[in-house]
């Protein structure tokens, strides 16, 4: 290997590095006391996540904080590497939306070892072995409330028969999905006289899967008249299946299927307004975002290295009954009206 070769190799690097260096240069404004927070998320596939992402990033930036966004694209390993890189960059704090409970535990552990406060948004770690700031909605309670209202509607119809319920279940790797299912079944158990054994349709949080499975379920059980979806973002698929069967009817129309969901996005709001949907469990997205950010910033301020606090978002059920007063508490409503 001679001088020429060495020089040439380095020269060849020039092109690559000028480009790359140029890109990095444009981002060079490190203010000494500016805080940097890494926000790691998993794709932004539903309105909930989009709104959440927007809420978090805009609020932080409005406070003059530098936000490093990292999209892990639903790959737990990638998120681990991204957070490690962020730790190496010595960020002041981390917020993550993990892919699942297990990887959350591992990633929180990394932050703990580095002494950087970390907050987990909406999807809790599967155990408390590693301390973190966690905000999670009480999905079970919220689902329970929503479905309880739906049951009330069914009872009030007084048709003296058993209703045939169906639940679209989320990806059971997601604790939230498990909790929502539990809330639904709580109501079922409390009203054994009102309901037959519920049909469970897996969605895996994927629209195409939902469509296929729901179609099959309704073919096998055409008399379903009570339907709860674990997430509002699946309403388009539900409509696509129910409408051709003549089951997509408003509340006062004959053949109306008692319909409820959870999340509280703008679609749910619209459908409730139009009268197709009876109730929606609402996660208070903005409350969750603000709470978690405040907790994280407070921890950073106080110099805490491994803060631990599990916070609850009690949420509530928006129903046809209380819609008039409480609609504006629904984040989907606010998203709709902010635009």
């Amino acid at each position: 290997m001679n001088m020429k070769t060495l020089l040439l190799t380095v020269a060849l690097l020039g092109a690559l590095d000028v480009v790359v260096g140029g890109l990095s240069c444009s981002r060079r404004v490190p203010i000494e006391d500016q805080l940097t927070i890494c926000f790691g998320f998993q794709d932004l596939e539903t309105e909930f996540w989009v709104a959440g992402h927007k809420a978090i990033t805009e609020t932080l930036r409005a406070k003059g904080i530098r936000v490093l966004e990292r999209n892990a694209n639903q790959d737990a390993n990638r998120q681990l590497e991204q957070i490690r890189d962020a730790i190496a960059q010595e960020v002041n704090g981390i917020i993550i939306i993990p892919q699942d409970g297990e990887s959350a535990v591992t990633i929180v552990g990394e932050a703990n070892r580095a002494g950087i406060p970390i907050a987990v948004f909406n999807r809790p770690p599967s155990d408390r072995s590693n301390p973190a700031l966690v905000i999670v909605a009480d999905n079970e309670k919220i689902a329970d409330e929503a479905v309880a209202y739906m049951a009330k509607v069914a009872r009030e119809k007084g048709e003296g028969r058993k209703w045939k319920p169906l639940i679209v279940v989320g990806d059971l790797g997601d604790r939230n999905a498990v909790a929502r299912r539990k809330g639904f079944f709580n109501v079922m158990e409390r009203n054994p006289d009102l309901f037959e054994t519920p049909i469970e349709v897996p969605s895996k949080w994927d629209p195409a899967t939902t469509l296929a499975n729901l179609e099959a379920a309704l073919q096998a059980n055409p008399d379903v008249d009570f339907l709860f979806t674990s997430s509002d973002f699946l309403y388009p698929q539900i409509k696509a299946v129910l409408e051709p069967l003549g089951k997509w009817k408003k509340i006062d129309e004959p053949g109306h299927v008692i319909l409820g969901g959870l999340d509280g996005d703008s679609t749910a709001y619209k459908l409730m307004k139009e009268g197709y949907v009876d109730a929606t469990g609402v996660q208070d997205l903005f409350f969750e975002a603000n709470t978690i950010m405040e907790a994280l910033l407070a921890a950073i301020e106080a110099g805490e290295k491994m803060p631990e606090k599990w916070m609850d978002d009690p949420g509530f059920a928006l129903t046809q009954e209380n819609m008039a007063e409480r609609a504006d508490e629904m984040w989907g409503y606010r998203v709709l009206h902010d635009e």
Binding site: V10, S24, Q89, E102, G115
Partner: protein, 378 residues
């Protein structure tokens, strides 16, 4: 005077071309130079690149990927390709975890096909015992080799194209992994197992605490690399692998047991995928049916960048290392620049494309450069 000047400048130009092509492009260690130079130049813009923590991160990202690339290299050398490495990772992760786990949540696993048969609330068959980790790991490696051998048999005996065989494998086993666990992650793995991916030998103090020095996964990768080098450079099987990759027909005529050699190559690839699964699963702390979903591009990309030819007959362990080194460096530096993830993918794609083109170019130059042709096996 004029003409001799132009003559010398002409010869200089020719000399320069000769050096560029001969020494740099065709050089074995081209990618190593590239990596080192890239690192040095980039360090100027990003001083954090050289921090202890960052180097530790880079290091722990390199070893599991290296394990996979070494496996893929064996298959590339015989002129094939193994697309099923990702699903072998998934299925071994899941099977090993189910074997080793010391507790399963009935709410999540009650409807699992194996519930009550092989797994229960107390975990898997080896769960809770002292030998859980070694048994689980051995189980994983065995499954990996088995699947690899099946792939190899299909390619060698049934004469099916490797692309097709391993693609089918990939779909089948990743589906099987999800089926076996109903897409749940399997937790409660023994500490001994988790230590492999998460613990380090020695620590180095940094500004905020300390950082691991040598991850245990390094030792696994090192052992594999040494074994792979030995086979390729010093054994008959190694020579047979190169022969089959260079010219399968000539190898057969010359008495090389071509079929057996091909099966071995794929078996090794399956084994390495399983070993990689051990490293990644322990790192993430669970058996995952979706493990390694996106890693195939990285594996093949690193292999191609390192100079392992997609056409077969060429490949060395240290090239695999150079390729992985550059790739991990590139990957990590791109994220460090806060580029959006799709930009990162685009850049990675372009780099791999350039590397593949370089492979074709080098092949063509080599074919045309009769007098100073060099041999390629170790």
């Amino acid at each position: 005077m004029q003409s001799s000047d132009s003559v010398t400048s002409q010869t200089r130009l020719a000399c320069l071309r000769e050096v560029v092509i001969g020494r740099v492009l065709l050089s074995d260690s081209f990618v190593l130079f590239l990596s080192v130079a890239y690192f040095l130049v980039l360090w100027i813009f990003l001083p954090r690149l050289g921090s202890a923590r960052n180097l530790s991160n880079l290091s722990s990202n390199i070893w599991p990927l290296l394990v996979l690339v070494i496996g893929q290299m064996f298959v590339l050398i015989v002129g094939g390709i193994d697309l099923s490495q990702t699903s072998v990772m998934a299925i071994t992760s899941v099977c090993g975890a189910l074997m080793m786990t010391s507790g399963l949540d009935p709410e999540l696993f009650a409807r699992n096909p194996l519930w009550g048969v092989l797994i229960g609330e107390q975990g898997g068959p080896a769960g809770g015992s002292a030998a859980a980790a070694p048994v689980g790991i051995a189980f994983m490696l065995a499954i990996g080799m088995l699947i690899g051998s099946a792939n190899g048999l299909a390619v060698a005996r049934l004469k099916m194209p490797p692309f097709m065989v391993t693609l089918v494998s990939m779909f089948f086993f990743s589906g099987l992994a999800i089926f076996i666990t109903r897409s749940e992650n399997v937790r409660n793995l023994p500490d001994a197992f988790l230590a492999i991916g998460q613990s380090y030998l020695g620590r180095v103090p940094t500004g905020r605490g300390s950082v691991g020095l040598v991850p245990y996964s390094f030792f696994a990768a090192l052992a594999l690399a040494v074994a792979a080098w030995f086979v390729l450079a010093r054994t008959i099987l190694g020579r047979w692998l190169y022969a089959v990759g260079m010219n399968r027909r000539a190898a057969t005529v010359s008495g090389v047991p071509t079929d057996r050699v091909i099966v071995w190559a794929y078996a090794v690839s399956g084994f390495c995928a399983a070993l990689g699964s051990v490293l990644y699963s322990s790192r993430l702390g669970a058996g995952r049916p979706t493990l390694g979903e996106n890693v195939l591009l990285d594996v093949i990309g690193a292999a191609v960048i390192g100079g392992i030819s997609l056409f077969g007959g060429k490949g060395k362990v240290r090239w695999a290392f150079y390729g992985v080194l550059f790739f991990v460096l590139l990957d990590s530096s791109l994220y460090m620049l806060n580029l959006k993830f799709y930009t990162v993918n685009i850049v990675k794609g372009v780099v791999i494309l350039v590397a593949a083109l370089l492979d074709v170019l080098r092949n063509r130059i080599r074919l045309g450069r009769a007098p100073t042709g060099r041999a390629v096996a170790a």
